[in-house]
């Protein structure tokens, strides 16, 4: 009896969040899914149209710009996440082992986190800039420093170059949060394990690989999962770093989210009678499933490797 009463109270508490979740999460999710399957969906009249099929999906996979956007996204995910995690771990360990100035360094490393992402992206854009017509404007900081005249982020930049800049930016901006979380995790590891390791004569690298990393593995796995999800959704980093102010992003530089964003801005049908809006929805659903599969994979691996 008592248990039932408690249940009732719990449901009561849950009603408001469930209500909000239904409106803002479940309804849009299901509707997006449906829109992606009704290939003649009309966004202006909210009319689903006559056809229930997979044409929107075939259309996006035949779209060169979509596959290219997926590649761009995957490059960002698989380079920036591992690199920034390893870097953050190394920085956190070294920050944790110095006593004087630790707080100051912690603050310095944390500054990017409290700064607006778009603003920093535009600063990167300016730093890597290159005037298209010589002599009109000065070279950016990077070109000046290295005495080069390379177009890193402008319209004539090669794929490798603008991707490099985007990756530098993503890694750099991903560091602070990770460092903060890692430092918190490191400070939670009991000093006794390190004393025990000292007694056991473990060399430094072994303390790192056999004690610190395994004991930190729950946090490492948390960081990996969240940042994989986060970087699958990358868009504003690319937009602000390698976009041109006042113009929409070059189609070759789209990420998956950029593709969606572009498609839902166009009303009407394409030449194959597939609504652009449905194509955007299909792209969003594809991204959703990629992230989901990947997260399950991540969870599965961490269950196997995360100790205790």
């Amino acid at each position: 009896m008592l248990d039932h009463k408690r249940d009732l109270k719990a449901w009561l508490y849950l009603i408001l969040p469930l209500f909000l979740l239904t409106i803002f999460t479940f309804y849009p999710l299901i509707k997006t899914f449906l829109i992606s399957l009704f290939s003649e969906y009309n966004a202006l009249t909210d009319d689903f149209g006559r056809y229930f099929d997979f044409y929107a999906y075939t259309a996006i996979f035949n779209d060169r710009f979509f596959t290219n956007a997926l590649t761009n996204t995957l490059v960002i995910v698989f380079v920036s996440v591992p690199v920034s995690t390893v870097l953050a771990l190394l920085i956190a360990v070294s920050l944790n082992s110095i006593k004087p100035l630790q707080k100051i360094f912690q603050t310095i490393f944390f500054i990017p986190y409290v700064t607006n992402a778009l603003a920093i992206g535009m600063v990167f854009n300016v730093m890597f800039s290159h005037p298209l017509v010589g002599g009109v404007a000065a070279e950016g900081l990077i070109n000046t420093l290295f005495q080069t005249a390379i177009d890193w982020v402008g319209p004539t930049a090669t794929v490798e170059r603008w991707r490099t800049v985007v990756l530098i930016y993503t890694i750099w901006s991903a560091l602070p949060f990770k460092i903060l979380v890692f430092i918190g995790g490191l400070q939670n590891i009991s000093k006794q394990y390190y004393d025990a390791a000292k007694i056991d004569a473990a060399p430094k690298w072994k303390v790192m690989t056999r004690i610190t990393i395994p004991l930190l593995s729950p946090i490492i796995s948390y960081i990996l999962i969240t940042s994989f999800i986060g970087s699958f959704k990358a868009y504003e980093s690319v937009l602000s770093v390698v976009g041109t102010v006042g113009r929409s992003l070059d189609r070759n530089r789209w990420t998956a989210v950029a593709y969606v964003y572009d498609k839902i801005g166009i009303s009407g049908l394409d030449i194959n009678n597939v609504s652009y809006y449905s194509r955007g929805a299909a792209a969003a659903v594809v991204l959703f499933f990629i992230i989901m599969i990947f997260t399950f994979l991540n969870l599965y691996i961490s269950k196997k490797t995360v100790h205790y």
Partner: protein, 524 residues
């Protein structure tokens, strides 16, 4: 291995210049193969002492010797000690077996075995030269250690001088000047050390050191060279046959066994031995010794407290340390397990005969398993010796109060020309107190130190009888007692006690101690 502590002092300095002297001028020798208990209330400096022996803390002053070797400047891993932490500090992500293996993996057994084998090979090839060479190596290392020690001592003195200087308030200019002169004299001192080190090294190095070394190496190479060539040929032959790819080293060694020259056989054997198996065997043997061989594949969290304790002991012992240190080894166990584990510790210690120091605040624990106990308070030794002797003859009030349950009963009394009196009744006399008169003394009586006697001089007011298992004790009160109630352990024939009816008792002389009230010094 005997452990000797000389004038050991540890001062903790905090930022706001508050100093805590955790251990003060502590002198003690732990005899070889004995189990010694460091006993004292919390904050008395016993754990600090233990950590200084382990090398996790460095003493502010004083020296630590393992046998004849001064280990004060050595790091924990160089000292060769095993330490069992209070919470065991087992690595939670490793299985029991991996926990025990971990110290072994760090020992680099192979390198050490090869070096030892080469040394004995050298000694057998060129006994005279090798002997004097290795003698020199040994002497030069100890010389190096000596100067390292001198340097660090000088540095400590220099740093404490700087701290003292910063505390004296004087004008800026003068301060900088004296600081500069301090630094200069310190650097001068270091230079002096370096010079005399080189001089002494010169003295002990044999004249023909260079030629000696090359002679030894040459003689060794002469034997090794033809063998090495044969070995290379054999390796190539073996490599061509895929059958040998798995376990290549053991195949190779089997083939090499017959052709290796006798003088360097030990070296080659050390090179091809299966160290993984060796370490495994040792870990399993250690697990057997402590009785956890069936738990090897569990994680520490799956074990009970007692089992974790055993794993921690196995991990500490597996590298064959010279000294075993236990920090409050039983405090995390429940009462029954505590009794069992303490016998276990005693058994293990006896079985391998290792010098053991253990720290505890529980007097019963210390008394039950120690060969010798040291009582500490305020960072200083209060008394040391055989547990029963310390119990029977406490040196001062602190020791008498700390040892024994139920606690010693204390009465306020006075001393008049050798006679100790409580409320004008003479309760105790001793020849040591002859001609002494004191207005205030404390009379301490062990709970078992009472005898029912109609003619007894001490009158007590019984409150109730307390029975805990086989122990029957009488709780009573006395106006001059330091505590509201006193406890007396009764014999079974003393049961005829009724509440609210005062009883008369006599004090047993050997269970009664007289202390000076102001200092706690024992008078008799």
């Amino acid at each position: 291995m005997e452990v000797r502590l000389e004038n050991l002092t540890k001062v903790f300095e905090s930022k706001n210049a508050a100093r805590t002297i955790a251990v003060n001028q502590f002198n003690f020798t732990i005899p070889d193969g004995k189990l010694v208990g460091l006993l004292g209330p919390s904050g008395c400096g016993k754990s600090t002492t233990l950590y200084m022996i382990s090398g996790l803390l460095y003493p502010t002053h004083g020296r630590i010797f393992f046998g004849d070797e001064d280990v004060t400047e050595l790091s924990p891993e160089q000292r060769g000690i095993g330490l069992v932490f209070q919470n065991y500090a087992l690595y939670p992500h490793m299985t029991v077996k991996k926990n025990i293996l971990f110290p072994l993996e760090n020992m680099n057994l192979k390198k050490k075995a090869i070096e030892d084998a080469i040394k004995s090979a050298h000694l057998s090839i060129l006994p005279k030269e090798a002997k004097s060479y290795y003698q020199f190596v040994k002497e030069s290392t100890s010389l190096k250690n000596k100067y390292k020690r001198l340097e660090s001592e000088a540095k400590a003195v220099y740093q404490s001088k700087i701290i003292d200087l910063s505390k004296i308030k004087q004008n800026q200019e003068k301060n900088t000047k004296s600081l500069a002169s301090l630094r200069q004299s310190f650097q001068e001192q270091l230079k002096q050390f370096k010079l005399s080190f080189e001089k002494e090294l010169q003295k002990i190095s044999p004249e023909n050191l260079q030629t000696m070394v090359s002679k030894i190496n040459h003689a060794y190479a002469l034997i090794e060279k033809p063998y090495q060539q044969q070995k290379q040929k054999l390796m190539l032959k073996l490599l061509l046959n895929p059958i040998h790819w798995l376990n290549f080293n053991s195949h190779l060694w089997n083939a090499l066994k017959t052709m290796v020259p006798e003088t360097i056989k030990a070296v080659e054997e050390a090179r091809y031995k299966d160290y993984r198996k060796l370490m495994n065997d040792e870990a399993i043997a250690m697990a057997k010794l402590v009785g956890i061989e069936d738990q090897l594949h569990k994680k520490p969290a799956q074990l009970s407290g007692g089992q974790q304790q055993r794993v921690a002991i196995a991990r500490a012992l597996v590298k064959k340390p010279k000294v075993l240190l236990l920090d409050e080894p039983l405090s995390n166990l429940d009462a029954r397990l505590r009794l069992q584990t303490r016998e276990e510790i005693k058994r293990i210690q006896k079985e391998i005969g290792i010098t053991t120091v253990f720290v505890t605040h529980d007097q019963e624990e210390a008394m039950s398993i120690s060969d010798e106990i040291v009582l500490m308070n305020f960072g200083a030794e209060q008394q040391k010796g055989n547990p029963q002797d310390v119990y029977n003859q406490p040196a001062n009030l602190f020791v008498a109060k700390f040892l024994g349950t139920p606690q010693l009963n204390l009465y306020q009394g006075s001393l008049k020309s050798g006679k100790v009196m409580i409320q004008d009744q003479v309760v105790f006399e001793a020849s040591a107190l002859k001609n002494k008169t004191m207005d205030e003394v404390l009379i301490g009586v062990r709970p078992e130190g009472y005898e029912m006697d109609e003619k007894g001089t001490l009158t007590l007011q019984p409150q109730f009888i307390e029975m805990i298992g086989r122990d029957v004790s009488l709780v009573a009160s006395h106006p001059q007692a330091q505590t509201p109630s006193i406890r007396i352990i009764l014999n079974s024939d003393d049961f005829a006690v009724k509440p609210n009816q005062s009883i008369k008792v006599k004090l047993k002389p050997h269970k009664t101690f007289i202390f000076e009230k102001s200092t706690g010094r024992r008078l008799a």
